[in-house]
């Protein structure tokens, strides 16, 4: 091999190595595989596979559907970020669901009980939500470091307990009032000073995008900066990669576990905010459940990367929104859940295969270079 002066294309290709491209191809292939499986299931149940998927996509790209997708994705994005904070240090916060619902309920109750000038009112509600989410998550963190209880089990149990606590609190004797025009009950509605107006981002529809989509973007940036640009983030990732190495370099792992859990819970507290402050203005029984597992799936799809998670959240929300057309075509919308589950499972397998391929490709390249006598370039060797 002769050393040549690098040209512009070389440098461009050097940045986007074919092996790096492969890890982008992995999710695309996984989605395609999931679509194939879905079509097989559709065919099996007697629905026209191709037509159904086309109808889903056509319905999904209508302006109103796009707004719904964006709104739902905002919620999912925050949920996935909450999960991802834990993931980065090998902490499985499965309790995001309970943390978010308890936080939304109490924040809604506080927001409905007081009236303050506009920015303060919103800030108070968000603050309460963050506090409650963090507090509920800290139970699992403390149980882990003090009593050695795995957070996987404790957060699942805390989810069930949060549901019970929520339904006890959301009672006419305590925090709930009748929702006018239905037999649903919810917290007292939040006054206008505590509401966040929607944004007319997409032309061609009256439906507005949640104003707090901005909050989600800000949180994505914060997440990136915190984890990749601060000492704390380095310690957190180091603990996730190798606990013993982190201990050796002076990281207090116990403290990191509690802090990471609290941060994750604080983020989980924000999940309900776009919906609460942007659309429903009161917490009622029809707030979505099971967001914790959705968040886990999306964090996996996006590989805990803020941009990847955004794509994952949009995909997930798009599938959910476009499933609404299926009822009209006499297909059960649950087919989407099968598709989502298949996507997750095939994505993680695809990532693992790419990871193995990258390792063996690097090994081959290094051994080739060693055999030919030229020293391996230091840059790009650590794929």
């Amino acid at each position: 091999m002769k050393q040549k002066a690098p040209t512009f294309t070389d440098r461009l290709l050097g940045r986007v190595s074919p092996v790096g491209l492969l890890s982008l191809a992995a999710p695309v292939l996984a989605v395609a595989f999931a679509a194939l499986i879905t079509m097989a299931v559709l065919w099996f149940t007697g629905a026209p596979p191709f037509k159904t998927l086309v109808a889903m996509v056509e319905y999904g790209v209508q302006p109103r559907s796009l707004v719904l997708t964006l709104n739902e994705a905002t919620t999912y994005y925050l949920a996935a970020l909450a999960v991802a904070i834990g993931f980065r240090m090998n902490l499985f916060n499965i309790g995001v669901d309970g943390q978010y619902r308890l936080a939304a309920l109490i924040a809604a109750a506080v927001g409905g009980a007081v009236t303050l000038p506009a920015p303060l009112h919103i800030a108070l509600i968000v603050f309460v939500a963050v506090l409650v989410g963090a507090g509920w998550a800290s139970i699992a963190g403390l149980l882990k470091v003090k009593r050695g209880v795995s957070e996987v089990i404790s957060t699942i149990m805390l989810n069930a307990i949060a549901t019970a606590l929520g339904s006890w609190l959301l009672n006419r004797e305590r925090l709930a009032v009748e929702v006018s025009g239905s037999n649903n009950i919810g917290t007292r509605p939040i006054a206008e000073s505590g509401q966040v107006p929607g944004l007319a981002l997409i032309p061609g529809t009256q439906t507005k995008v949640f104003g707090l989509i901005i909050l989600a973007v800000v949180m994505g940036v914060l997440y990136h900066v915190l984890l990749n640009r601060t000492r704390f983030g380095f310690d957190l990732r180091a603990t996730g990669r190798s606990e013993s190495a982190a201990v050796a370099s002076g990281v207090n792992v116990k403290r990191m576990v509690v802090i990471a859990m609290i941060l994750s819970g604080a983020m989980a507290g924000l999940i309900g905010m776009p919906q609460l402050l942007g659309a429903s203005y009161s917490y009622s029984l029809d707030f979505p459940t099971g967001l914790g597992f959705t968040g886990i799936a999306i964090a996996l799809l996006g590989r805990n990367h803020p941009v990847g998670i955004a794509f994952g959240a949009l995909l997930w929300a798009f599938l959910n929104t476009s499933a609404n057309i299926l009822q009209l075509r006499n297909v059960s919308p649950d087919i989407v859940a099968i598709m989502q589950g298949t996507i997750v499972l095939s994505v993680i397998i695809a990532y693992e295969l790419v990871h193995r391929y990258q390792i063996s490709a690097t090994q081959r390249r290094v051994s080739r270079e060693l055999a030919s006598g030229t020293p391996a370039p230091a840059e790009g060797a650590s794929v």
């Binding site: 149980l143 050695g148 069930a160 059960s332 859940a337 099968i338 298949t342 499972l345 693992e352």
Partner: protein
Amino acid sequence: MSKGGLTTAEAPFLEPKAPVARKFRLTGQTLLLALGALVLLLSFARTVTGAVDLTSAGAINAAVALAVPIGLAGLGGLWSERAGVVNIGLEGMMILGTWCGAWGALQFDNPWAGVVAGAIGGALGGLLHAVATVTFGVDHIISGVAINILGLGVTQFLSKVTFAEMPGGGDSQSPPVPKPEVVSLPLVGDPLTWLEKQGWFLLSDVAGILRGLLTNVSLLTILAILLVPLTYYILWRTAFGLRLRSCGESPVAAESLGVSVYTYKYVAVVVSGALAGLGGAFLAQVAASAYREGQTSGRGFIGLAAMIFGNWRPGGLAAGATLFGYTDALQLRRGGQSVHALLLVVVVLLVAVAVYQLVRQNRMRAALITGIAAVVVFAVFALTDSIPAEFTSVTPHITTLLVLSLAAQRLRPPAADGVPYRKGQGK
């Protein structure tokens, strides 16, 4: 995330304590004594509070029926984790079992066909988990979470495709399914009923418990209970079991002795799924009489907790499952009153633990904390008349948390539990 092993109960970050002078050993005698003390305690609480369901035949019968699915899920977890694969997908496999159980029983009009179908459905979920974790080396918890999502989606879809068209069925529930036969021990029912009605201290309680255990028991329950000693025999008393457990302790060492680690892990995880599926079929066919959406309500996870509570051993697991099944049954039978009475039992147990810590272990601070906890629980007991219905439903979950936070530090999971393994990595 694929690096570094994860287990469902990691070793706590605690400094090693000074070795306890006298090691506690569980013998048959102490076990019987403890059991007797427990019955005495329950009977005391029943007499004081008048909550008859603490020891009534109905509650005990329900407790057994509720403990079985938890125990089956726990056994599933035991098989898989003993081979080194963490299986948090038990819940999803159990959900598959509920649908398959109901479908099989309806399709062939035979309850036992449903039982087999449920086990097969769960085993398919296990196979998927094995492919992902063993062949592809995916992180075990991530794969498990994916299987939970998939299991829920598949069953919801399938129930809409199949049960919605059947008479008496709907989108989210099946028509009534045929149940396995129910048997009773002959000649004991009537005398025990009479004795139970007298309300005598201890005697009536024992009669209630016995009647709950000996009459109206489903054949599937008996089969499930027999699976516990069978698992013990296979995993601890056969060469196959030794090899399987060696894969969970040190796969590299097992490999060097010629054990095909992949095969053993596959077998373990598929059996694990089948057991969880059996638990699901039990829920649909015995505990209830039809498939319903959300029927498992986290029992797969509670089963996992029962296994951890039982220190990855079949006997301990059965004890854990019984505990969770009992608390679950109590909340269903006049929950407010029964769970309220259970608080008294908790107070007595906490006081006993505090005394033990003070006298035997000489741990002043621990004893003080336990004592304060006992006073707090007693205050709650004394100041209220019953527990709100919203809270009684989570009695098993709170029990899980409490028990694990008391017990988790003394537990020892298999050494290579949750650690990804690739063939030939030890070279």
